[in-house]
Symmetry: C2
């Protein structure tokens, strides 16, 4: 429930009360969950959070409808949330624009060109749309519900956006370096699935022809765990993991700076702590 | 574009201007289209309106996302539609509740018990949720956008709801009796697809054991066109088509009565004409 947490703390950080933002905060989690249900159909993923996905358990038709119903419930919850009309409308607009971006990000992911053609910039755009835009929206929703100034709302949004990019980049690193028990899946499974992650993109852009071949063989699928680990070690030796960590730290620092316009409070402290937790895990 | 038409004429009938309701009217068509795209995936229909369905042309992932994006666009369009905040919120609430009902109606359809167990009442509930609820919502949206009184808004909604039921029932009759050229599909294809229509439900409830067997054989699928036509003739001879037509006329009459509280105007005339067109086609 990262998104509701961001909304609640952002609301409190501008002087609002938790109860003002709770319905909208719940709606953000509904929105996130709706997109997960539909994304799992699209990616044909069989499990999530250790349990069967909706479509693998109940079938695609039920999963499509469950997602649609949850999406409608996003609006129902905000509309019945008791905010003044103008704030209700602003929150709904923020949530609607976030949904558009999420759909476009997922579409970009589906139609993403082959990994060899992916530039870092395109990758960052995609994770921005797929992940950090909803973080940004959650913080803005909190700022609006709490009655923050325009400057505060923009700062909170930017803070969450940059934190979200850092969060996603760190996930990419952990997929390569964390141990299997902590990760809940085999080390290097991102490589096996041909997932576009920043370390892989950086490595491919900095490898010799021979090194590229090793990475490409691993990405191609149908390989041994030894080949995966060889590619992983090569990516590390090319400095791509260090590069990615440095990048993540840069996003964190930029994120923190945005909070300068927010007065000190326990809620602001919670936001900073969350950012550290998300981005500096295991570093 | 029946739903936008209903919204525009309802708005005008309570003294509003067309331009006040146009964005919301467009949003209603987006909503209808979004549900069609997802329903076509669910029912695995290959064509609609004479062209390939979205998922058959672009694949299920793109069709899911296209529907989701269109759904987000429903809200985007109303939110940017220029109505005063209170009316915007009321229109969004109406649209949201309609979406919930549409999803629930579709779910009911998926999980509908076998035809032999279907009661007329359950059938009417399903078409109410799947079809006429959005008609009702369209008319109410028009009434709200046009600044109608509560009594007028309720009357317009009830008018459209009853017209919608009549419309769907007439569709059931036309599927049995209209000629192939007008219908765009073979006569009796509803029977072949095992579709739950009012004439079939009525016939099954009024047939002898032997007659039931004839109808069941046709519904079972994998039958000749002769067997379909024999079942069709039997359904007609059992009075089920007459019964259904009578039922539709009852809905039309009830619908018209609801408009008594709306003052005479060209827009009211258009609503009455639309109702006649929808329900009395081919009778």
């Amino acid at each position: 429930m990262l998104r509701p947490y961001l909304a609640v703390k952002a609301c409190e950080a501008v002087g609002g009360r938790e109860e003002d933002v709770l319905p909208a905060a719940a709606a953000l989690e509904f929105l996130h969950t709706f997109t997960l249900i539909h994304d799992d159909i699209i990616d044909n993923d069989q499990t999530r959070r250790g349990v069967p996905t909706v479509h693998s358990r109940w079938g695609i038709p039920v999963a499509i409808l469950a997602g649609d119903l949850l999406f409608a419930n996003v609006y129902r919850t905000v509309l019945g949330g008791g905010l003044p009309p103008e704030r209700t409308i602003r929150v709904l607009s923020l949530i609607t624009e976030a949904t558009v971006k999420l759909c476009e990000g997922q579409m970009l992911d589906i139609t993403f060109p082959n990994l060899q053609e992916v530039e870092e910039e395109e990758y960052l755009k995609m994770i921005r749309w797929k992940t950090s835009y909803l973080f940004k929206t959650a913080a803005e929703v909190g700022g609006v519900a709490g009655g923050g100034t325009e400057e505060q709302i923009a700062a909170l949004g930017s803070f969450a956006d940059l934190s979200g990019v850092g969060f996603q980049i760190v996930d990419d690193v952990l997929g390569l370096t964390a141990d299997e028990r902590k990760l809940g899946k085999p080390v290097g499974s991102d490589i096996r699935e041909g997932k576009k992650t920043l370390p892989v993109i950086h490595a491919l852009n900095n490898a010799s022809q021979g090194q590229k071949a090793v990475i490409w063989r691993a990405i191609g699928g149908n390989v041994t765990q030894e080949e995966i680990l060889a590619a992983r070690d090569l990516i590390v030796s090319l400095g791509s993991v260090e590069y990615t960590k440095r990048k993540a730290r840069g996003y964190v620092e930029a994120a923190m700076k945005r909070l300068d316009v927010i007065p000190a409070s326990p809620a602001k402290g919670s936001l900073i702590q969350l950012c550290n937790l998300l981005v500096l895990r295991e570093f």
